[in-house]
C-alpha cells in the first residue's frame, strides 16, 4: 500500500482560482461605495466638532470597507438572481470568477475588520451603527425583504441612508436631529430612484422573480408612488435650512434641486402606458443621482464655508 495515494483533483471546488484582485474589488460594489464615502464624509464634516484629520480618514476608510463588505455579502447571496439579470450577469460570482464561498469569506472578514477598526480607533457608537448597517443590508434587505415584498427598497433603503449618520457619530459620538435629517433625505430619495430604474428594467426584475413595485403593483401605481415620494423628498431636502442648521445658500440650492426632482417625477407620472422607451423614467434615474450628489455637496460646501468664516473670525 502506498503512503501517498494518488488523488484526482477534478472537483470544481478544488479548481484553482483565476480571480484577480480586481474581481475582489468589484465585489465591494465600488460605485455604491463611492456614494457611501461621499455621504459619510459630509456627515463627518457637517458635525459641529472636529477630530484629527487622520482619524477622520480612517473613519471614512472603515465605513467604505464596511459598505463594500455588505456588497460582497449581497453578491454572495444574490448570485442566482444576478445571473439572470443583464445588469448584473457579469458580476464576479455569477460569471464564475469568484466562488460563492470566497465571496462569503471575503465579506465576513471585511465586515469584522471594518467594524473593529472603527470601534478601536474612532468610537464604538459609530462601529455599532456600521455593524447594524451591514447586518441590515446583508440580512434584512438581501436575504429577507428583496425577494419577499415590493416595499423591499423602501425599508432596505435605510441601509444606504446610514453612512452620514455614522460619519456624524464618528466625530460627535452621538446621533442628533441634524444627522437624522441627512438620513431621511437618502431614505426618501431611494424609492423614486430605484423605482425609476425598475420601470425600464421591469422585465429583468420579472425574470429574476424579484417583486419590484412595477412588477407587483403595476407601472401606473409605481409612477404615482414615485411622484408622492418626490413631493415629500423636496421639502425634507430644504429642512436643514428651515431648522437653521445651514445657510440660505443651501436652502436655495436644495429648493431648486427639489423642484427639479418633482418636475422629473411629474414627467414620469404623465408618461403614457404605451411608452416602452420610457425616456422620462431614464431621465429621472439620471437626475436622482445628480440630486443626491448636489444636495450633499451643497451641505458640504456650507459646512466648509462656515468653518472658514469661524476660523477667520477667531
Amino acid at each position: 500500500m502506498a503512503l501517498v495515494e494518488e488523488t484526482r483533483i477534478e472537483d470544481a471546488a478544488f479548481r484553482m482560482s483565476e480571480a484577480t484582485a480586481g474581481d475582489y474589488f468589484a465585489l465591494l460594489k465600488p460605485r455604491v461605495m463611492s456614494l457611501v464615502v461621499f455621504t459619510a464624509f459630509v456627515g463627518l464634516v457637517a458635525a459641529p466638532v472636529s477630530i484629527n484629520p487622520l482619524i477622520a480618514m480612517i473613519a471614512i476608510l472603515a465605513i467604505a470597507i464596511g459598505a463594500g463588505a455588505s456588497g460582497a455579502l449581497n453578491m454572495w447571496y444574490d448570485a442566482d438572481i444576478d445571473a439572470v439579470m443583464t445588469r448584473t450577469a457579469s458580476r464576479p460570482v455569477p460569471s464564475g470568477r469568484v466562488s460563492p464561498g470566497e465571496a462569503l469569506s471575503f465579506g465576513l472578514v471585511l465586515s469584522a475588520l471594518s467594524v473593529m477598526t472603527l470601534g478601536v480607533l474612532v468610537n464604538w457608537l459609530s462601529a455599532a451603527l456600521l455593524a447594524f448597517t451591514i447586518f441590515f443590508y446583508a440580512v434584512i434587505y438581501t436575504m429577507w425583504l428583496k425577494r419577499w415584498t415590493p416595499q423591499n427598497i423602501v425599508i432596505g433603503g435605510a441601509a444606504g441612508a446610514f453612512p452620514p449618520v455614522i460619519g456624524w457619530a464618528a466625530v460627535t459620538g452621538s446621533v442628533s436631529l441634524e444627522s437624522v435629517i441627512l438620513f431621511l433625505i437618502i431614505f426618501l430619495w431611494t424609492p423614486p430612484h430605484f423605482w425609476a430604474l425598475a420601470l425600464f428594467k421591469a422585465q429583468d426584475y420579472g425574470r429574476a422573480g424579484i417583486p419590484m413595485m412595477p412588477n407587483v403593483a403595476g407601472e401606473a401605481s409605481t409612477r404615482r408612488q414615485i411622484f408622492a415620494y418626490a413631493l415629500i423628498l423636496a421639502p425634507v431636502g430644504v429642512l436643514p435650512w428651515f431648522l437653521g442648521y445651514v445657510s440660505i445658500g443651501y436652502g436655495i440650492v436644495s429648493a431648486i434641486l427639489g423642484v427639479g426632482f418633482v418636475w422629473y417625477s411629474w414627467k414620469v407620472l404623465m408618461m403614457p402606458d404605451s411608452d416602452r422607451v420610457m425616456r422620462p423614467a431614464k431621465a429621472l434615474f439620471g437626475y436622482s443621482l445628480l440630486y443626491l450628489f448636489a444636495i450633499f455637496a451643497a451641505c458640504l460646501a456650507d459646512s466648509v464655508v462656515e468653518r472658514a468664516l469661524a476660523m477667520g473670525g477667531a
Binding site: A2, L3, V4, E6, I9, M16, S17, E18, A19, T20, A21, G22, Y24, N52, L54, I55, I58, L61, T117, L121
Partner: protein, 54 residues
C-alpha cells in the same frame, strides 16, 4: 511503494497571473493596515508615551 514522482497541480499562466495579483493586493492591504494602526496609535495614545529615557 509510493512512486518517486508526485503528481502536482500545474498552474496555467492565467492562474499564476491571478494569484500574483491577489498576493500583491493582500500585501498592500496588510501594509496599509500596519501603517493605519501605527499612526492611529500615536495620535490616540501619543500623550501617554514617555518623552525621554525611562
Amino acid at each position: 511503494m509510493a512512486d518517486d514522482k508526485l503528481e502536482m497541480i500545474e498552474l496555467t499562466e492565467r492562474q499564476k497571473k491571478a494569484r500574483r495579483s491577489r498576493s500583491v493586493a493582500i500585501g498592500l492591504a496588510l501594509g496599509a493596515l500596519v501603517v493605519i494602526f501605527y499612526v492611529a496609535t500615536f495620535i490616540k495614545f501619543g500623550h501617554f508615551m514617555p518623552n525621554g529615557p525611562m
